[in-house]
Subunit: 342 residues, 4 copies
């Protein structure tokens, strides 16, 4: 049997550990042959394959990024895309199936290809933890660790200068990184896409922390938007909130917090450092186990499914479990953390 | 209401985060009053209490160790111990209940005290992850991260000198730290108390890795013992295995591996560095959430229970769920990892 | 003898270690009494003092920030400022001298106060390493470590996506952090205030690295400006370079690099995380030694001087040695590093 | 011109960065050809060479260990050793000179070979910082960082249990790592080979720290020996100090400290983790600069010399400057630190 592996979408610590897990178990336990597919679905469409032996994956559990490269290509796009063309390409190269490691878009494409008769297995990948069907996905723990360590650093500056520090973390649609890093770092306010907050709500929390003698720390997801922003501030010139011209929401919040509370405020956008580098031990273990179980799923022909984490176990679930709705932060999880702001 | 909090047994990253979580939610949401109990059950027996307000717990989510101190005292020991004396002491100080954060011994004592009519709540604490009733306990993730990082370092020395490196990690009765750190660091053999291995089994794995051009990495739990050790080596002088006179099992294994395989071998006992220092983000979040839920449990009068992690949730379980048998590594988890040794 | 200690200007890892070093040696070896001065020169002007014993400084060698607080107040400003008022205030509180830990502005003020008859000792503080008279200053090594680790992370993202990554680090007037972190992280271009470069110079280096199959990494000091920027791009709309509206120079460079080279390019501004948190061992040792030698200098009455690092030694130099010109990166140091870009 | 590069002795963070620096500058600036010599002097004797291009050294600045392998072979040993044989071997492979990166033994051999007419350049390598002729050597800063971080962790355990913690660090003949890590971590006693101390001296410091409410931290170099050990304890059974049967000096000290002071005491031998893994930024910069300057020295034919660090500069010194006496900790540096023990 010959299987192709691809990684798709943004890079994420643990991708290489998944690849290593699949290849090590697949070759030594099951005698499967593997090819690497370059740059996600683009490599499928372009038949850009290369042999992937245990030699290529050695030492990879701790290496960030992906040795396969990645792209945001959709396999149904372009003249060479689509299930029929892909089936021909795979047949031509004697590839019996594909493991697609990616986020929502990738898994949706994988689901459609599976329906169209292609042998596809999925491994969920989301640094934001926005996929349903799995308790957590690899990369998330690493990102939370990096964000937490950065906020530990910001606090000493805040304390020394009696400043409010605003830290912007990843999370375009869901607030998991902000929630967990905020709890871990002892933030005084956590602003996430799921929970509407006005600038006054935030300033209340900031002022309360300041009144208790603390240097306020606000953590905000990149995807957070202020409620009442337009109405409340239209008379003051909407320009201040014209986000595309600024680096991020934290750069909107910081001057407003300073203006309203009178507390000197600085913002930092953590940016790409959250998604790079060596994975945490948790992510290495999770990613490796997902890879090992994917090798089993290949042998058992569980096409059309993806591997996932449930409690302490690795299970298989249909693609549909991860699709449709995002894994948003439930209100009770936000309220649980809000007890710390008091 | 007035509640005492104690920490008992070995220190563990996250203890302070639990204490902070309880006190912050207990005081701000519920208006509970707290006292710190010094040095575990000793402080209960000796009535060694001090006020614990939100001021005392500020900034503690990232601080290792325990501000309450700890000891291995059994509350039933000594002339001032026992449920009746403790009940009097608590009544005398108007303390309505105790939160005991500790491992198996502590929870067993807490269970007995609860049966004897004392209001006790438990928070499971085990850096080895040896308690049942909870998916994971705080401190474990930090220990695995530290052990993994140490092994990443050992590998470069092994590679440069073409040596076999043996790393001994914590785990007196269970092999979770060895298993997870071994997977994360890409170990070529993992030796845990749950799985019998002879020195020849280990040397086979070492030689196979060496033959593939790798510098073999062996990770071993402190509680691992070799099978057939006495029989096989009695003629060679059992002294070599006389463990109490040596630092640990790794110091038994290293010379034997070198002797049998002919590969230069060095051992390192990671020791106390695994349990100290700032907790990982995962452990800070878990410990804080356990603390927050303990505050809820106090208000709801859930005496005789402990808080625990199940999947992504915090739940309450009877003490009995954590007692009796240890949470050992199941064979399928070892075999899952063994596919990597190939 | 009673001595006041103040910290002034931006916070910097190692400030607390200096304070601890002064107080520990001053109290135990010499029986000097210390007071902390709150928020830099503001505390001198406002007579905002508090007792500083060995108890207050315990455990501080590893703690970032400053327990004294800091500000950017100039001691000669305001109605209560000036040497005469300060002399009265110090006399009134029986304070025999001041240790001022700060950067160029602070040391210039200290120099003037010393000339005006106040007993002042200086400790050079600059995270950017822009002060002359000392080989290095504490905080710089920590900042370089943080920036290097961040760039190690950025590289995996660059490699996975075949992108150019631009990292902006601290360095308003001098390029030391960019130079050292760039060497350490293996950057393909280093842009510093001291060395004029045009966008074409940078793009040449980026393209050369890309042609060798590398994901180009560009590190840029926040104070870097492009040569020929205005002339070359005025016809394309200067707006793209209208820096005040953007987060930093890296956000100017990234789109231009992408436009000219055709290589997808992302930027990250590391920002405040470079100056916070626990100091590196190097900075803890340097800061502690500077503190210990300051205690000696107090006893020896070396007023009007500052302590400094020369090779492996701590020496005393007149304030003037650190003032006047900044410690810029000499051209030969830039050219030395440029050999790596080839 | 064709030059061979070898690494010899124990591995050390920064070796790969030196190699990369030499090869990058040597090939791109000077058009020198390089061969890697496998496993130190053994590879010279056995003519075990391989081409070393810029491709082989890419990304190496952050990689621990050495891609060349290492051994402790002496080039004058064996039937194929000696200057004459080596000259023939080098001539046969058209190798014009050797860069030897190593410690005292390596540099002594290099010196002798140079005297015997072989073109040799040296790069000093000592993680213990025991070589004269250079302010610091790469690897030392990384080791101090690792030891400091480990001791930060040990302290939380010490504090929680009110224990004395003894940490044993590298330093066979000199105490630099213990001195710097001890200062950085705030140790209460530092025991180094250069300074005689009795068990009572140590216990005095431990008890004083304990009396001030601190959990005492003792850092000890592996090469430290107690004064008066034999005399004072011969009546109590010398066995307790029979070091070869124990893991290290810390395992001698801990039980004695506990016996004499009555304070519970634990020891940890940090061991090999101090020399492995990714170098600190300081070491990457130093190692890279040493490599770059070695390329210059090759071109300039500075055979018989080694590159070294002086203040902020890289210089060349004769081998003799590094040989003869070790770079021990001078007494004034120990006494400087002792002011912290108070």
């Amino acid at each position: 049997m010959k299987i192709g592996i691809l990684t798709s979408g943004g890079d994420c610590p643990g991708l290489n550990a998944v690849i290593r897990g699949i290849v090590l178990k697949g070759t030594t336990t099951y005698d499967v042959e593997f090819v690497g597919i370059r740059d996600g679905w683009r490599g499928v469409v372009d038949a850009d394959f290369f042999p992937l032996t245990r030699h290529e994956v050695k030492g990879l559990s701790k290496v960030g990024g992906t040795i396969l490269g990645t792209s945001r290509t959709n396999p149904y796009d372009g003249s060479r895309g689509g299930a029929e063309n892909i089936a021909k390409t795979l047949y031509g190269h004697r590839i019996d199936g594909i493991v697609a490691i990616g986020g929502e878009g990738t898994l949706a494409a994988a689901d459609r290809l599976a329906t169209d008769g292609i042998n596809v297995l999925g491994v969920p990948k989301t640094i934001d933890n926005d996929l349903r069907g799995t308790d957590y996905s690899f990369g998330f723990d690493t990102a939370v660790n990096i964000a937490t360590e950065a906020m530990d650093r910001l606090r000493t500056t805040g304390d020394s200068h009696q400043r409010c520090m605003v830290a912007e973390v990843m999370g375009r649609h869901v607030g998991w990184i902000a929630l967990h890093a905020g709890i871990a770092a002892g933030a005084h306010a956590i602003c996430i896409p799921e929970v509407p907050m006005s600038i006054d709500d935030i300033c209340d929390l900031v002022s309360k922390a300041h009144d208790r003698g603390r240097a306020p720390l606000v953590v905000v997801s990149e995807g957070f938007t202020l409620t009442g922003m337009e109405e409340a501030y239209s008379d003051k010139g909407l320009d201040a909130f014209n986000r595309p011209r600024l680096g991020g929401i934290s750069e909107v919040l910081a001057p407003e917090i300073e203006r309203i509370t009178g507390i000197e405020t600085r913002s930092t956008v953590l940016g790409h450092i959250q998604r790079g580098g060596s994975p945490s031990a948790f992510d290495r273990v999770l990613a490796t186990r997902l890879g090992l179980h994917t090798a089993d799923a290949i042998i058992e022909g569980s096409w059309g499914q993806m591997v996932a984490m449930r409690g302490t176990d690795i299970v298989r679930v249909p693609f549909a479990d991860a699709l449709g709705e995002l894994n948003t932060v439930p209100l009770y999880r936000y309220e649980e953390a809000a007890a710390l702001f008091g």
